[in-house]
Symmetry: D2
Subunit: 139 residues, 4 copies
Amino acid sequence: MTRSPSSADIQSMLDDSPYIAFMNLEVTGVDPDGPAITIRMPMRPEFERRAGTGQYHGGAIAALIDIAGDYAVVLQSGGGVPTINFRVDYLRPATNTALTATATARRIGRTVAVVDIDVHDDAGRLCAVGRGTYSPNVG
Amino acid sequence: MTRSPSSADIQSMLDDSPYIAFMNLEVTGVDPDGPAITIRMPMRPEFERRAGTGQYHGGAIAALIDIAGDYAVVLQSGGGVPTINFRVDYLRPATNTALTATATARRIGRTVAVVDIDVHDDAGRLCAVGRGTYSPNVG
Amino acid sequence: MTRSPSSADIQSMLDDSPYIAFMNLEVTGVDPDGPAITIRMPMRPEFERRAGTGQYHGGAIAALIDIAGDYAVVLQSGGGVPTINFRVDYLRPATNTALTATATARRIGRTVAVVDIDVHDDAGRLCAVGRGTYSPNVG
Amino acid sequence: MTRSPSSADIQSMLDDSPYIAFMNLEVTGVDPDGPAITIRMPMRPEFERRAGTGQYHGGAIAALIDIAGDYAVVLQSGGGVPTINFRVDYLRPATNTALTATATARRIGRTVAVVDIDVHDDAGRLCAVGRGTYSPNVG
C-alpha cells in the first residue's frame, strides 16, 4: 500500500458495514504513525441497557472496542482484519453521553497485531478499556 | 430468593432492556443447577458485517456472549449482575445461521462469578467462545 | 508428522526446558483426538505464596496453564508452539495439594489454536481456569 | 492507611514470599499517585525456555506481570490483594536481558482494580503486555 487510509477512507469503510452503519460511528482522528484511531459513538435508544437510565449496555461498548481496535490495524494493513480475540474491562457506567474510543497499536507483527483501546465519556472519564489481537495478514 | 427464575422470567428481563430487545434474543433453556442458560439469536440485517455476506459482525457475537454469561449468574442471584470483564475468541465465521449461546457458570463466589460461554451455529459448529467475570452481589 | 507424540515424547520435551524442568511437571495423560493433555505439578517450596501457608502463588498456576495449553497443541503440531496470549481466572486458593491441569483444544486453525485449561487440586476442586491462543504454524 | 508503602516496604513484602523471593525481583520505582510501580527481574538459569537460548519462558514473564500488577494496587491498599484474573500478550522474545515491568492502575474501584502492565527488555523494547483485575478489599 502506498499510503495509509485517511479519515474519510476509514469512515467510508465503516459506513459500508451494515453492523457498523447501524452503530453510527464517526472517525474523529487518525494517526498513521501510532497507528492510532479515534472513533466517536453517540448514544442511541437501542444502546440503552435499561429503559430510562441513559446508560449504555456493555455489549455496545464491547462492539465499539472491537471495531476501533480493528481499524487501528487497518491504518497500516489498508484492508479488513479479522479479530482473533479481545477483552473488555468495564470501569464505570457511561450515562447520558457519547463515547469516544481511542485505539493504539502496541505491536503489529507478521501474524498478530495487539491493540489497546480506551473508552472515555464526554466528561473525559475512562469508562472501559479493551485489548484485542487481530490477524493483519488475512482478510 | 426462594426460587431460581424460570425461562419466562429471564425472557421478560431480556425484553425489558432496550439493547437486548433490539437483539431479539430468545431463552431456549435454563438449568438452575449449572447454573446454565441457552439463548438463541436469529440473524438480522443490522448484524451483518459486510452487506450481502450473511456473516455476523463480531460485535453482535460479543454482545450475545456478555448477555448469556450475565444471565447464567442471574439464575442464581435473581437480579441484575454487572460485568467485570470478558474475553471473546472467534473460531469460525458464522454465516446465514442463527447463533445459540450456552453459558455455564464455572464458579459463583461471594464477590466474583466466572462463566464460560460457547456459541454454536445451526449446524452445531463452535463459532466463538467467551469467558466472563461478573459481580454477583452488586446491582 | 506421521503420529502424535506419546506421553513419553511430551515428557521428554518438558524436561528439556530448564524452566519447565524446574517446575517438575509430569505428563499424566494424552488424548491425540482432543487433542487434550493432563499435566501434574507437585507442590514445591519455591511455589509458596507466603511462607507456611501451603498455598500456591498464582504465578506458578499461570505458568502451568500456559504450558499445558501449549502442549495440547503440540500433540497435533508435533513441535514447539509460541503462545500468543492467555488469560487466567483464579477460582479458589490451592493449599497443600498437587495441581493437575487438563488442557483441551477448542479449535486448531491454520494460524491460531484456542485451548481451554482447567486446574484441579487433589480433592477434585476447580482452582483456576485458563484460556490461551497459540500459533500452531510457527516455531 | 496513613501513607503509601515505600519502595523499601514493597521490597520487603516481595522478599517475604517464597515464590517471589525465588524470582529475585527488585523494586526500582514507586509512584503512589498512579499508583504505579516498576519491578526488575534479572535473568536466571531456571527461567530459560530452552537451554542455551537465553530466552525467557513465557511463564516467568506471566508471573512477573501478575506480581507487578498486584503491587501497584498494594501501593494504595497497603496490603495483600488477590488476583481475580489477568491476561498476557507476548509481543517479542526476550533474550539475554533483564526484564522491567511497569504496572499502572487504570482504575481502583471499591471491589475491583484494573491494572496495565508493560514489560520491556534492557534495550527498551516492549516484550509483553498484561492486564489484570484484583480485589482491593480482600486479603
